[in-house]
Structure formats: C-alpha cells, structure tokens
C-alpha cells in the first residue's frame, strides 16, 4: 500500500513535470490548424523524453552527478560555459513563458488583466522556492494538473466523430495550410515535449535525493508511466482543438481558445476546471524551470546547490534563483504577449536541444562513469535515432520560423 502511494506520488511529479505552457500552446495550435496530423510528433517526443530521462536518472544514481556537471566534464570549461549561457537563457525565457501562463490562467479564473498577475505569480513562485517543501508542492501541482483530463472527458461528451479523428492520426495532411507551417508546428510541439529543463530537473532531483539503484527503479517507473500520461493529456488537448476549434476556423492565440472546448461541453464549471489545470501545470513548470536555471549555473561552477541546505549556505545558488525569477517577471512586464513568447521560446529551445541531449548520450556510454551500467545496444540505437531527430529539429527550427513567419 505504502509502495503504491509512493509510486503514485512519483507519477504525479512526472505528470507535473511534463505538461507546461509550451504543450498547451503547441497542442492547441496543432489541433486547431492541422487536426490530429501531429499525433506522431507527440508520440515521438514522449519516447524521446522517456529514453533520455532514463539515461540522465541512471547517471545521477550511479555517479551522484547531475547533467550539467557532466556537460562541463565532457565538453571542457570553455564550450560548456557557452552551453551554460545558451541553456540559461533558454530556461529563463521558458520560466518567463510559464509565469505568463500562470498569469493567463489567473486571468481566465478572475477576469483581472494578466499583467497585474505577473508580479504576483513571480513572487509566489519565488516564495515557494525559498520556503516551501518542494516535493510536496510538486505533488500538489501534479495532482491538480491531472484536472486536464477534463479535455479527454469533453471529447466523449461532445459529438466527436472518432473515425475521422483516427483517420487524421494515420493520414497526416497539411490541410491547406502549407507544409512549411505543418513542420513549424511539428518542431514547436516536439520541443515542448522534450524541453531541456525536464532532464536538468529530473537528474538534479535524483542527485539531491541520493538515489541508489533501488530508488532508480522507482524513478524509472514514475517517468515511464508519468510522461506517457502527460503525453495523453497533451493528445487530448490536440483532439478537442481538432473537434471544436478547427471546424470553426479558430487559430489559437490565447489560453481562452485552448479552454473553449471544455467551456462548450461543461459551461462555467468546465472553465473553472480548465483554469485550475492551466494554473497548476504552469506554476509547477515555473518552479522547475526556475530551479533548473539555477541548477545549471551551480553545477557548472561547482557551487553548493539544492534544497537540503539553508539558503545562506547556498547563497550563489539562491541568488541565481532570485535573479532568474526577476528576469522572467521583467521580460513579461515588457508587455510581450505570453502566447507569442511561448512560440518563440519553443523555437529557441529546439535550437538548443542538442546542447543538452548529446552529452547525456555520450556519458551514458562512458564506462569510466557508469561501469557496466552503460546503455545497452537497443537503447543506444534508440538514443542515436532520437538524437538525429533532435539535430534535424534544431537545424530546421530557425529556417522554418523565418520561412513561414512563425508558422503563418
């Protein structure tokens, strides 16, 4: 019973770590414009994040070192510093987008303009990082994030043509929108699924909780169940957008539109549940991105980091945390639209993906670190294929963004 509870809690954390503002926006846009035609991208993304999270977790458990330690050891001080600067910027922009998502969710629930919520969201996120028991918060937000299941329920409630949905999955088309836009959305959706902060966060958590081999099996189980559940929730976002938004010709430019299908199905109650779910997933992701930005810096420089020691013993770590949240708030206060910011964030993330994933694959094969717990042949083949996809996405991201004017 106790074991079941622990497993459930782990899964909740994984679900919370998977779905974020990027998924809400990219999945909504994919469904509204191309129907189910991006389902394969989402599936590929889930397989990719599961495979690489497993590697990062195994490295953390065996060596006690998190991802950015390894990036510096493998790439050397100079290249790793450039990597740190790029990864930090991407993670802080992601944090800003998540904070924007929190503010938009609060606006959805209260009607108060989102810009007023931005400083509140920033302060709340920082307070949780400063004071609260993080694991507890992670689980609370993971549980509340499951409210996204309301989208799957709405799909049953609405007069859904399941056969047509199925055809959309197996026969992807560009639906008169152009293949450029199709691939632009594909890159954005893929980037939202395999965000680098997810592996920074997962491996650092493993180091902090001092995983042994036994814990590793549990953690692996949480990820292999939790991430696919997150993927299912994202898929239900695509499906509801396909059923409701696409026939109406709506393109998603706000969270209201993403929530519209559940409002149509369940009215004000549906809106309340959707707003709660949006709030939970974006707030949880804001915590994780803030921590990940500080983890990356601390692990590159070798500073004391983590939640086990008091802030005064990890002053540099907590300073970076504070500065990152402030930067996120300031970025939003330029009044940049959070949904637009999310679109740009996903494209920049796509470009930066190889910086995180290549070193993980290299170290997962290094016997001096892992002894006989290096990757098996099958996992290496899968990892290499995924890395090729990641490289392709990284190379294609900017040309696609410019060529299609951000997917227009």
């Amino acid at each position: 019973m106790r074991k079941l509870l622990a497993a459930t809690l782990g899964i909740l954390s994984a679900v919370g770590g998977f779905v974020d503002i990027g998924d809400l926006v990219a999945a909504g846009q994919a469904g509204a414009r191309f129907g189910m035609a991006h389902t394969w991208v989402l599936l590929l993304g889930v397989v990719a994040i599961c495979a690489y999270a497993e590697m990062a977790g195994r490295i953390a458990a065996v060596t006690g070192r998190a991802v950015f330690d390894l990036i510096r050891e493998r790439l050397g001080a100079r290249v790793a510093l450039l990597n740190l600067i790029a990864s930090y910027l991407v993670t802080v922009i992601t944090l800003a987008a998540e904070l924007g998502g929190v503010a938009l969710a609060l606006r959805l629930a209260t009607g108060v303009p989102y810009l007023l919520w931005v400083p509140v969201a920033g302060l709340a996120v920082w307070l949780v990082l400063w004071r609260m028991r993080f694991q507890l918060m992670e689980r609370v937000f993971g549980l509340a994030g499951l409210a996204l299941v309301v989208f799957a329920v709405a799909l049953w409630w609405l007069p859904t043509d399941w056969a047509a949905l199925g055809r959309g999955v197996v026969l992807p088309t560009e639906a008169g929108q152009g293949w450029g836009a199709y691939w632009f959305i594909a890159v954005a959706l893929f980037a939202s699924t395999v965000s680098p902060y997810e592996v920074f966060f997962f491996s650092s958590g493993g180091v902090e909780e001092r995983w042994s081999k036994a814990d590793l099996a549990d953690a692996r189980f949480s990820v292999l169940v939790g991430f696919p559940i997150g993927g299912f929730l994202a898929l239900s976002l695509i499906a509801t957008a396909t059923v409701v938004l696409r026939p109406a010709g709506v393109t998603v430019s706000s969270l209201e539109q993403v929530a519209h299908p559940v409002v149509l199905a369940f009215g004000a109650a549906g809106l309340a549940v959707a707003a709660l779910a949006f709030f939970a997933v974006t707030f949880g992701a804001a915590l994780e991105t803030g921590l990940s930005a500080a983890y990356a810096a601390a692990q590159y420089f070798g500073w004391q980091w983590g939640k086990r020691v008091s802030p005064r013993e990890a002053a540099r770590f907590h300073t970076v945390l504070l500065v990152s949240v402030l930067l996120g708030v300031l970025l939003l206060l330029t009044t940049i639209d959070p949904v637009t910011l999310t679109e740009y964030m996903l494209i920049i993330s796509a470009v930066a993906l190889p910086l995180t994933y290549l070193p993980i694959l290299v170290v997962a094969n290094d016997r001096t670190y892992l002894g006989d717990r290096v990757n098996g042949r099958a996992l290496n083949l899968l990892g290499a294929v995924i890395l090729l996809v990641i490289l392709a996405a990284a190379i294609a991201a900017v040309p696609l963004a410019i060529g299609t004017r951000m997917g227009e």
Binding site: T63, G64, R65, D69, R72, E73, G76, A77, R78, A80, L81, L82, L129, W130, R131, M132, R133, F134, Q135, A298, Y300, F301, G302, W303, Q304, W305, K307, R308, V309, S310, P311, R312, E313, A315, R316, H318, T319, L322, T368, Y369
Partner: protein, 126 residues
C-alpha cells in the same frame, strides 16, 4: 595513484569531508620534486583560475564579473594541496571541511549583502 589530469581531474566537482560542494577543479599546479620529477602539487578553484582556462574575451568577462564582489584584486583562487585529496572518482573527495579551506569571496559577499537579509535564510526548505 595514477590518474589522467585532463580526463579525470580537471572540471571535476570538489567535495569536502561532509559532502558539501566546494567548487570545481578549475586548474592544477605542478612543482618539481627534489629528484627533479614533476608532481601535481595544488588544485586551483575559483573564477580567477577558471577565467584563465576559458581564455579569450569570455574568460576575461567571467573574471571581471567575479571581481566586482571582492576588494583585493586580482582575485586569488582557492588553493588545495593535492595531499588533501582522499579519492578521485566522479568527484574529487577532500579530507577537510569546506570552512577550513576558506569561503569563496563571491559566496560570502552575496550571503552578507543579499541572502542573509531575507527572512528565513537560515532554514533549509527540504
């Protein structure tokens, strides 16, 4: 103990006897023994040493940023005699406590002027 300095020592995490993170091995220093054979004398840690190894404009910017927090420049790196190392694996383990090595000036400045002024700085979040 036979180790490859560039592959197994440089850029590794330094950990003190209580498991606290001290810094990275940012550089190393050799000396000549009485018999004329060079030996690894000191591990260097801190932005000054790191900046030199990173090199170029990027390295200089790193040092300049760190030097904003100290009064006595140039910034001296933390020097750890190699004799204090007990074990080298995925980290470099020391036989002393972090306090005995001296705190990083940047850490100290930020602790005194920023973090300690926020209520609750002395308690771990867990």
């Amino acid at each position: 103990m036979r180790i490859q300095v560039s592959r197994e020592l440089l850029d590794r995490q330094l950990v003190d006897v209580d498991g606290r993170l001290v810094g990275k091995v940012d550089d190393v220093e050799f000396a000549l023994g009485a018999d004329g054979v060079p030996y690894l004398r000191t591990l260097l840690s801190g932005p000054g040493a790191l900046g030199l190894r990173v090199g170029g404009r990027l390295g200089r910017m790193l040092v300049l940023t760190a030097e904003r927090f100290v009064t006595d420049r140039p910034m001296a790196p933390l020097r750890i005699p190699y004799a204090l190392v007990t074990r080298v694996d995925s980290a470099v383990w020391l036989r002393v406590r972090a306090e005995d090595l001296g705190t990083s000036p940047v850490e100290e400045w930020l602790r005194r002027n920023l973090i300690d002024r926020i209520p609750g700085a002395g308690r771990a979040g867990g």
